[in-house]
């Protein structure tokens, strides 16, 4: 769907994006992760042609980026807002027209979405009369109205209440099922673990890690096991590396995850097992490890 090839962007003395290459598979939910200032927003602005490129190329389905491509993108920036003095309907039509839609088709689409969210009576209301949560729904509609093939959400859940967060997560899944490709950019990595399949971790303008979340977790796991139990642990438990220990639970590290059954056998002899579970690293932990790995090298 989208391919970035060696893109670089400098701001005065800072290199915001440094020779970054990335391929976003079609019909996927892709996470662009990294701390604040890593270059995520700059990368996204380059894709949206808000910021220019110093060097590198961008391809949409093997076609080199051109101005008309902005019409197939739906972008919800981190800094988002609406005209407060405009009516909801007028505003949606206007923003859709700027994306190249005919006003008639735009109106049909608007009705579809307003009905979907059961808010058709908002059409003639001014945005300033709506609550924050209501405005967020309108904002979402402006992003998806023109049926974009590529959707980009920059920090989509900041400022969203839990109900809207859930609604929008579900809508995003539906959009994916209907064939859209979705890019998620956030520094709150735990937010995307459940929705993304593929991710790229960015730090200081460069990609330090990328791949399928499950595979990454496998790759970075440390063979930590959580055991909740009743009774007294066997004496030689110190042979394993203890990560954390409480009265009725313990986290152990084993050298090889094939040995998990051996550990379980060993434990069964003396305690009653309530939980036996491998702890996979969170994306946050993976990120921190990856950054450390970078600096160690």
């Amino acid at each position: 769907m989208l391919r970035l090839k060696n893109i670089t962007k400098r701001y005065e003395n800072i290199i915001a994006v440094n020779n970054l290459s990335l391929e976003i598979p079609p019909n996927s939910i892709f996470g662009l992760l990294g701390p604040n200032g890593a270059g995520k927003t700059t990368t996204i602005r380059i894709i949206n042609q808000i910021a220019g490129l110093d060097s590198g190329d961008i391809f949409f389905d093997d076609e080199k980026m051109k101005p008309a491509h902005t019409e197939i993108i739906g972008y919800m920036p981190e800094e988002r807002g609406l005209y407060l003095n405009m009516k909801v309907g007028e505003q949606l039509v206007y923003l859709a027209e700027l994306k190249g839609m005919k006003s008639k088709t735009a109106r049909e689409k608007i009705n579809f979405w307003l009905e979907k969210f059961k808010i058709t009576d908002w059409y003639n209301k001014k945005v300033s009369e709506l609550s924050k949560g209501m405005q967020q729904k309108i904002q979402f509609i402006t992003t998806v109205l023109h049926d974009p093939g590529l959707l980009i959400f920059d920090e989509p859940f900041t400022g969203l209440d839990p109900i809207n967060t859930e609604i929008i997560k579900n809508e995003i899944r539906t959009l994916r099922e209907n064939g859209a490709t979705i890019i998620f950019s956030t520094h709150r990595m735990e937010q995307v673990e459940e929705i993304c399949e593929e991710i790229a971790l960015i730090n200081k303008g460069e990609i330090i890690l990328r791949g399928n979340i499950k595979e990454l977790k496998e790759k970075f796991k440390k063979n930590h096991f959580l055991i909740e139990f009743e009774g007294v642990l066997p004496e030689h438990i110190e042979e394993y590396k203890i990560i954390e220990k409480f009265d009725h639970s313990i986290i152990l590290e084993i050298t090889n995850d094939e040995d998990s059954n051996l550990l379980l056998n060993h434990l069964l002899k003396s305690v009653k097992i309530k939980t036996f579970k491998e702890i996979l690293p969170t994306l946050n932990e993976i990120f921190i490890d990856a950054v450390k790995g970078e600096t160690d090298e």
């Binding site: 019409e71 919800m76 920036p77 988002r80 005209y83 923003l95 027209e97 700027l98 994306k99």
Partner: protein
Amino acid sequence: MSKIFKIIKREYLSRVKKKSFIILTILIPILMAGLMMTPLLLSRYKSGSTSIAVLDKSGLFKNKLDNTDNLFFNYFDGTLEELKQTYKSKYKGILYIPVINIKSPQGIKLYSENQFGMLHSIYIENQLEKIIEDNRLKEEGLDREYLAKFRVNLNLDTVILSKEGEKSSDSKLSAGLSYVMGFMLYIMLLSYGTMIMKGVIEEKKNRIIEVIISSVKPFQLMLGKILGIGAVALTQIIIWLILGTMISTSIMLIFLPEMLDAQSAQVTQIASANVNVDNSQIYEIIDSLKAMNIPLVLSSFIFYFLFGYLIYSALFAAIGSISDDASDNQSIAMPVILPIIISLFIMINVLEQPHSPLAFWSSLIPLFSPIVMTARLPFGVPGWQLALSMFLLAVGFVFSVWMAGKIYRVGILLHGKKVTFKELKKWVFYK
């Protein structure tokens, strides 16, 4: 292109549909009309009539003072002392004329309890003078009709010697027109420039800006905004012109006959000369309007209005893009507001000396020329100066839009940061 049109449409409609715009556009001409009409109406509905008791000891004036609509003369015999006791019941004052020598009339007095209105006392004075003059003429064996044949009415024509030939001019009229046009430009540049700035700040503050520029180029948005608001300005001017013409025409229709009557009556009475004085002045004004080349003045005015608006609106847009909260706009907009104010000061000087070096140089500098050159136009400006000034203004416009576009592009995405001039310079020269 069609997207710019959509932006223009939104910027235009969202402002024209506002109540404040409708009120301002329609209310201002009506208020102005009210201001113009109040004195006329007041003069029309003067409090009742005034009667004056005339005690004429000389016998020259009896039944010769002309009554007007609201000033009546009644003649009495008797003594002044008697009259002083009794006049109050019916009369506002006593006009006492002793026996006089018509060669040096003295001792004529107007007694009253309250101060007499200025117009009335001038009128009475004129009447008395006229009658005394008539008497003196009669003594010499002449009459007014005979004398009128010798009356000369002269107007000094001021003529400009220029390469295109001789042109008559009226410097008062030119100055009046200059002032009106220059001041109109001043008001328009300031108010619509500020409107642009506010529009840009609104988009930045609302954070909608990034949504919009993911669909259109920042430059398109800026241009659409400038043109859309420019269309609002044009609409307002056109409505004002139409309303102004309608109102002034109706005022003329209501009051003109009356005014002409009053004026001609005054002319005959006061100057007791021919009525042509007025007409010849009107012809003179028409003459100098012809000499002024009105089509050129008006088309140049429109040119300077359009380009002046464009050059300043681009700068106001740039200023709007780098300011963050509405409170510090005033200080940040100063570099753009200042040249407009300076232009007004230069204009006032130019009205006195329309061809001074200051007038010449400042009507070439793009930031000053819209107001200064507009003010110079009615006085007649050499063709090459006008052409050069217009050319430089057009160049200045291209430059300011280019520069504003560069600043705007970076500025609108910047939040919570004070921008220095050094940084601005860098933005302008970014690739």
